[in-house]
Amino acid sequence: MDIDDILQEVDPSFHTIPQEKRDLQELTRAWVAERSAPELLPWPADGLFERINGSIKRQIEKVEEMTGDMDPKTNFALIVIQTELERFKYLVRSYLRARIAKIDKHTLHYLSTDELRGRLSDMELAYATRHQALLHNHYLSSFLASFPPALQNLNDTAGGISMIETPDLESAVFIRLLKNALVEGRGVDTDDATNMQVNDIVILRWSDAKPLVEAGSAELI
């Protein structure tokens, strides 16, 4: 142990961030990213949502217990707890709705390969599969059935043209650097590569930003 380690221990800013705060940061980041990215991002793998849903549930139970208590002191705490609860619920709801919007728009695309299916949570996968099945049956019964069998598919890729619409991965996004990193971007006239600092904000194509975001060197804003 050298002097740096000792200093770090007494340094208040170096204390590890509590789990609750980390979860809130991760949830917020996931929400902002999902709202900004042109395609569906992978469902958080480390049980973030299970943890957050669990704590929201517990908090609701606590509110139910506290509402019986009419002491003005705890009453104010109750208002604070409920306000925060609503803020959390808004974040979770907006995140899930942003995902559903993307799944609805390109259902067949996200169901087409295992890699893309892996981005959906179990619930979303069930939703997308059933939704697509219903839609296909509806089309079949209303008009597709009267077509020749060879033309009844909704996911034909014959003739080099795919029927499956895909999100535009070249759309421009804003990112903020979380670590100093080399940022490469392709442009119409030139390709750029610049060493960027923490907190730099850059406009570039999502396909160029994606590796940085996945490596945790940058976040979408």
Binding site: T83, E84, E170, A172, F174, K179, R205
Partner: protein, 263 residues
């Protein structure tokens, strides 16, 4: 059920995020620690400063349970300094964002460590940075959510903001308005730069969340439009570059064969 909004945060979503920024309050009453989903609040004792999220601080302020300490960058002299920098020193760029927490650490001068560099723990970013809108924030730098936080503080805690340095809330408001206009002009000129935007990167260091929300649709629309119009030219350029990459190799072979011929 699906969210009908276009991609990218809009104004109200940016304002929602800004309400999670920590601000410093001076409580007037005791309040025990409350266990919230985002972590425990510090126990409040009268006249002992504490850092709370903005939404909670505003709630306490409305109920006259606490006063809010304005962040140093909202001080009129700090705002004037930023305006000076934005207009005189560097009229083309936004003023720089606050230094990373390491360098703002007064306890260990000259001993900078980044908040997180190698470990895999979560890296904090706005609105969760520990001191971008608290009393410990550095003066002379605008944090990412500066406009939203300043607006909220002036709207709901104007009297607390005014106490600082004898300036009135109106004076701070005026300075803020100047700053908004100076920076909006920069945003517009960067949009003009987009017209001939052929590169792959464009840096907007120091821009604020509200300013992004304001011009996001336009800026991204222009960048995407330029890309679509120039798609043919870009494909042709890539092809040419690939040929050039392959070219020198071929040329070298030619040279070698020439030399061999010479021998």
């Amino acid at each position: 059920m699906a969210l009908p909004l276009p991609p990218g945060l809009n104004h109200s979503e940016a304002a929602f995020l800004a309400e999670m920024e920590l601000v410093t309050v001076v409580p007037r009453q005791r309040l025990e620690s409350i266990e919230l989903l985002g972590g425990k609040t510090p126990p409040l004792r009268p006249l002992h400063r504490a850092d709370l999220p903005l939404w909670l601080a505003l709630l306490l302020k409305k109920q006259r349970r606490a006063n809010i300490v304005p962040p140093p960058w909202l001080h009129p002299s700090s705002l004037a300094e930023i305006i000076h920098r934005e207009t005189k020193e560097d009229p083309s760029a936004f003023s720089p964002p606050p230094p990373a927490p390491s360098r703002a650490d007064p306890a260990r001068p000259g001993h900078a460590h980044q908040y997180d560099t190698t470990t895999t723990t979560t890296i904090l970013s706005p609105p969760f940075l520990p001191s971008s809108c608290t009393a410990a924030a550095p003066a002379g730098y605008l944090p990412y959510h500066w406009l939203e936080v300043a607006e909220q503080l002036l709207a709901h805690a104007g009297d607390d903001m005014a106490g600082l340095g004898g300036a009135s809330a109106g004076e701070i408001r005026g300075l803020l308005r100047d700053l908004v206009e100076v920076r909006a002009a920069k945003m517009r000129s960067s949009a003009a730069a987009l017209e001939g935007f052929g590169g792959g990167l464009m840096s907007l260091r120091g821009v604020g969340a509200m300013e992004l929300a304001e011009s996001r649709g336009f800026v991204l629309g222009v960048v995407d439009g330029v890309r679509k119009i120039g798609a043919g030219a870009e494909a042709a350029r890539r092809e040419r570059e690939e040929e050039e990459m392959a070219g020198p190799g071929l040329g070298l072979e030619d040279d070698e064969s020439d030399e061999e011929m010479g021998i």
